[in-house]
Subunit: 387 residues, 2 copies
């Protein structure tokens, strides 16, 4: 029987379903996978063998149980042969990591640039950093599955175009095409490239690399100079019509509040964006972190007030999205408990007034690496979601 | 070759893909469906014949084009043989409609009850109304595909339990099981029953019955005594962890604003919930509609201010979700332009301050029938999304 397009797609879906199952439940055997998926044992054996050959899965040692008969072989993700490359294009910095399929960081690299650099110059640095990491990763004997890039702005998913990144001052930059062109010119055209918003990929770092403890829907709040959200619902990113979903730093928290960099008044970011807070004390961001850690009373008092606004934002997003978990990430987390505890207290108090329980609130697992590791999670995400 | 569980699911998926294609593009032929789906012509012919036999599709007359050869037969949804039953359980009213697969209302019925009636009494009225409509619909020669019920509160999707409906004063009512039990006792146990939040089903009324003009993501704002949202993303409802997503009436628009019925302060609903507005003038809701339509200056001024708060809510949800379309529905739409135009103006002004364009904003297609027709859309939605 000839294989039709439909059957090829079905095969990809089934293969990736097997990878997801083994990822979520390491130790499953082929027979257990057949039960879980409803596929026949022979189909599972065939697909598992392909996945082993390609470096996705490997067999664990069989435990000697003393039971009679052939013992089932436990399977798990192979963390030795494949690699994911994740890139952060930040405001003034480029970060690159290579990770295993489990999100373990194998190598990392970062490089700063002046924010007003020409776009072609920054892209050329970006491509150079990617290619160096590809070569180093291959040199260490791993195959590169793909490259993910997290960027500080709205991305059109289908084209990989960065539509607008206010803090970089970029607009309509075809990042994916440009990176692919350069890779191709260097005989690396077989490597797939994916581009997505930084808060979105940060959300994926929580989902794709901790599958057994994942809470869906997941709301990731990225707190830094900009304030944005990445939302994962039913295993997928909530992107909106044009990739602009999650611009929650521009939710109005107060009519006629302080003027925001976007031109509107009373935006969340105008109350607790990291640069706004530093500016209010005429400090650099590093100086602000230092004063906060020293417990400077004036700074602590301002951070508590800023945290209250963050708590209201968390509340407003909670009633809108009903997430199972809220993750707080981004550089502003370094502002410490004066900021974060105050936010949680305000959030809890608002929920309590309505007789409701708040969802789980945690801090980002990958801390300052959340964007590059999230970008490598984006590659895995794209493979595991063939439709 | 034996049919496995997987193949049965694939068949259901393919069947419903054909229905969705024909619904979106009436007039498609079997050959065109084969091209669109990648299925073989013989598979398409087989599935289309099944769908015709079951009442989903029918053949249109072949246009005489003068071309040589056998002319392809155009297909369309059959609006004659199947029916969807949609129910609104409202605050003090029960509404029931039967519709065609295209959302055309075949029959409608409504009945009021006093809000503090015992739950079993209301459920028994509800079941009676459903059964009457089932019998009448069957009597008119149509098969009933299922019953959808829209309720004013959060619903746990998997169980059909209404978790909490503040305006009814109900909590943890197993509506689906109770209705199914009664249908079964009356030999109607073959009819499927689905329960969902009223704003969510209202959103589906826009999506399932206007597939060619659907804008996804779609944000439906239900404006009445309560203020809620139904959000459709990628063709699916955004429900949240426990069915509480879309409780946007409790987004805080102002710190220390007016006290809301939920206990919190400054909620959107405390600014422009319909009962709040009526109470502020010591009027009944009907009296408020009358004064608004007469252009009473005091009422108009208050409605313009209320509309500004609605505009801020629309803005806040827009930056969060980036919808392609916002639909305004619910009884508060009867407050007219003083309320609705003022909301649009505020929304547009906020977007303009940031140099951005707002998405399309329209009024609900089914107006006061949005919940029962939406509940019948829920039945179709469930059939068309087998996974």
């Amino acid at each position: 029987m000839a294989i039709t397009g439909d059957q090829r797609l079905l095969k990809r879906i089934n293969r990736m379903a097997l990878v997801r199952l083994v990822r979520g439940h390491p130790g499953l055997s082929r027979a257990e996978l057949a039960v879980e998926t409803g596929l026949t044992k022979s189909t599972v054996s065939l697909l598992v063998q392909e996945l082993i050959d390609e470096g996705w899965l490997c067999e664990d040692d069989v435990l000697v149980t003393g039971a009679i008969g052939r013992r089932p072989t436990p399977l798990r993700l192979d963390d030795q042969r494949l690699a994911l490359i994740g890139v952060e294009l930040g405001v003034g910095m480029i970060g690159v990591v290579a990770t295993t399929l489990n999100g373990e960081v194998i190598s990392k690299y970062s490089h700063s640039f002046t924010v007003d650099s020409e776009i072609p110059l920054v892209l050329s640095m970006l491509c150079r950093a990617i290619m160096d990491t590809v070569h180093a990763t291959r040199g260490a004997g791993r195959e590169v599955l793909g490259v993910g890039i997290g960027v500080p702005g709205a991305v059109q998913e289908s084209s990989g175009v960065l539509c607008v990144a206010p803090n970089l001052g970029w607009r309509d930059v075809a990042i994916r095409d440009e990176v692919m062109r350069v890779l191709q010119a260097h005989s690396l055209g077989d490597i797939q490239v994916f581009v997505q918003n930084d808060a979105d990929v940060a959300a994926l770092s929580e989902v794709e690399f901790s599958p057994s403890s994942t809470h869906d829907p997941l709301l990731f709040l990225s707190l830094g100079i900009g304030v944005g959200a990445g939302v994962v619902v039913g295993g997928r990113l909530l992107l909106g019509r044009g990739g602009f979903a999650g611009e929650v730093g521009h939710i109005q928290l107060q009519p006629d509040g302080p003027v925001c960099s976007c031109g509107r008044k009373g935006c969340a970011e105008a109350f607790f964006g990291l640069q706004v807070l530093a500016n209010s004390f005429h400090l650099s961001r590093e100086q602000l972190f230092e004063r906060a850690s020293q417990g400077d009373p004036e700074v602590v008092s301002a951070l508590r007030s800023a945290g209250q606004h963050l708590g209201v934002l968390m509340h407003n997003l909670w009633v809108t999205l009903d997430p199972a978990q809220i993750v707080l990430g981004g550089r502003s987390c370094r502002l410490g408990p004066a900021f974060l505890d105050s936010a949680r207290e305000t959030f809890n108090a608002l929920a309590h007034e309505a007789g409701l329980e708040t969802p789980l609130v945690v801090q980002a697992k990958y801390a300052e690496l959340m964007v590059p590791v999230g970008a490598s999670a984006l590659v895995l995400h794209k493979y595991l979601q063939p439709i």
